[in-house]
């Protein structure tokens, strides 16, 4: 490689150079593949599971209901969504404090799909050198064929990803039926295309640029690092002075450049921690292979901490620093929020009621001088079987319902039940009185909700 001055990454005028990461095998690459398989099994497979005769995981935005196995969430349950977001953020903090960008290196969809697309690319175009040669060569039948096959495979994967994505909103079996009979709705078609295109563009073309320029996490990761965070580190003390020849006093780094070639973001880890590093550990695997060949100990590039490097700690001493306040506090909060959310979910009553006072009719006198207020109760049965409920009202002497006091609600639906509430004449002076509606499932007293409202006397 020449040392010609390259325009540094000044975002506005940058000329992008395609990075050809070299394939790498080893402990961390195996872990990454394990996670690719696991996450994609969940994503592609999850849409096909059924539960209670419906799709197990379904975001039914048409009816505004989210099904996750036995649970049904309604918009009113947004607190659980908040809890989920808080939990994700906290886990990210925790992982980052412990071992840097574990998320980026192993589980981020950007990494996962790039890994899959790179695999296809290698399958069709050969290894790194073959790819570079192919790209430099003039257009030939061979080149045309290989490029066509590669892009077709990419588009195929991307489309299937888009279909799966929409399959979590429109039940996937229905969706495929619609595609087969060419009756796919325009909006579904649009989202399949949109998501598919995003996958194809991000994993096929943008790749490391997404991490470098678009990802906000890369920008604030360092706020979560401390001197005991395990990050990918080049052991300069051992490696330098680098050199090809085995002269006296030379370090262990033979300057083979493998660590740079395998790097998906194209950086040289030997220059120290850089924000572009996604912590994929490909350079660790790569350098370990080189060290094995040279019969030198592994770990010239390894997960290590600033403190361990400076103090020359052993692995044991370094791992002991795992139990530092920062990690303990993050773990503590994480555990607390998880328990709280779990308990709330467990104690959740599968019934919700909103009381709406009829705004048009305030209070009126009915036969015999009784005073009547009208309410509308929106009763939501969040279980997956039909249920009947009794409605009671209390809070004022002689207060009672006029008319129906039971309501049947079908499975996982809501219904608005109009109710009339009356009190006898001369039970209360004009004014506003708090009252309470109690809605109880027939046959299951534990399922009950008390809702407050007001009764107006004129």
């Amino acid at each position: 490689m020449s040392d010609a001055p390259v325009l540094e990454e000044r975002s506005l005028y940058e000329v992008h150079q395609k990075i050809y990461p070299r394939a790498v095998h080893g402990w961390f690459a195996a872990w990454r593949w394990a996670l690719v398989v696991a996450t994609q099994l969940v994503f592609y497979g999850g849409a096909w599971l059924t539960w209670n005769g419906r799709q197990a995981v379904l975001f039914d935005i048409v009816h505004r209901r989210f099904y996750i196995f036995g649970l049904v969430f309604w918009p009113q349950d947004v607190i659980y969504l908040t809890a989920l977001l808080v939990l994700s953020a906290l886990s990210l903090f925790l992982f980052t404090a412990v071992a840097g960008r574990l998320w980026c290196g192993y589980a981020c969809p950007q990494t996962v799909y790039t890994e899959i697309f790179l695999w296809v690319e290698r399958l069709v175009e050969g290894d790194r050198n073959a790819q570079m040669r192919l790209d430099e060569s003039d257009l030939s039948f061979n080149k045309f064929l290989r490029k066509t096959v590669k892009h077709s495979l990419w588009i195929g994967i991307a489309l299937w990803t888009g279909i799966t994505f929409v399959g979590y909103v429109t039940p996937i079996r229905e969706l495929l039926g619609e595609i087969r009979s060419l009756s796919l709705g325009p909006w579904e078609m649009f989202w399949v295309g949109f998501y598919g295109f995003a996958t194809y563009g991000n994993a096929g073309w943008m790749r490391e640029q997404v991490c470098k320029y678009l990802c906000p996490y890369a920008r604030f990761q360092s706020a979560m690092f401390d001197r005991d965070t395990m990050i990918i580190t080049y052991d300069a003390g051992r490696g330098e002075p680098r050199g090809k020849k085995k002269s006296a006093g030379a370090g262990d780094c033979v300057d083979c450049g493998i660590c740079v070639q395998v790097c998906p973001t194209g950086i040289d880890i030997r220059k120290g921690l850089q924000y572009e590093c996604i912590g994929c550990a490909a350079c660790v695997d790569g350098c370990d292979q080189v060290m094995d060949k040279l019969a030198r100990p592994r770990g010239l590039i390894r997960y290590s901490t600033t403190n361990a490097m400076e103090e020359g700690w052993t692995r044991r001493e370094m791992l002991r620093r795992l139990l530092r306040p920062r990690v303990l506090v993050y773990s503590g909060i994480l555990l607390g929020v998880t328990l709280l959310a779990g308990a709330a979910l467990y104690a959740r009553v599968p019934l919700k009621v909103d009381v709406i006072r009829d705004r048009a009719a305030i209070a009126r006198e009915v036969e015999g001088g009784s005073i009547e207020n009208i309410y509308r109760l929106q009763i939501m049965n969040t279980t997956e079987r039909a249920r009947a409920f009794t409605i009671e009202v209390s809070g004022l002497p002689t207060i009672r319902l006029a008319g129906e006091s039971t309501a049947g609600i079908a499975a996982a639906t809501s219904r608005v039940v109009p109710v009339k509430v009356r009190i006898d004449p001369a039970q209360a002076a004009p004014g506003t009185y708090p009252i309470v509606f109690t809605i109880r499932a027939i046959g299951d007293d534990a399922v009950a909700v008390h809702e407050k409202s007001v009764f107006i006397v004129r």
Partner: protein, 93 residues
Amino acid sequence: MNRLVSILWPAFVVGGAAEVVFFTVVAPQELYFFGEAVELGPLATYTIGFFLFWCIAAASSAFTVFLQKSAEEINRCPLEPRERPPGCPKAEP
């Protein structure tokens, strides 16, 4: 190109967040357009809503980018076009 990305991408993220928050609180059936109920299907409403949010956020991003132009970019360049350094967007090839 880079400018376009730095307008559209943050707007995409913010628009997506706004979409989720808005439609968690408001059901599409509850929306009114100039006093008339929105009669599109839910999926259409969600999609149009998303693009609307995206556009609004993009407008804000674009304004930010526009105001961030440095004095050098706004002022007339003191150099002759062919004397400008390589990489300068106003340089002559």
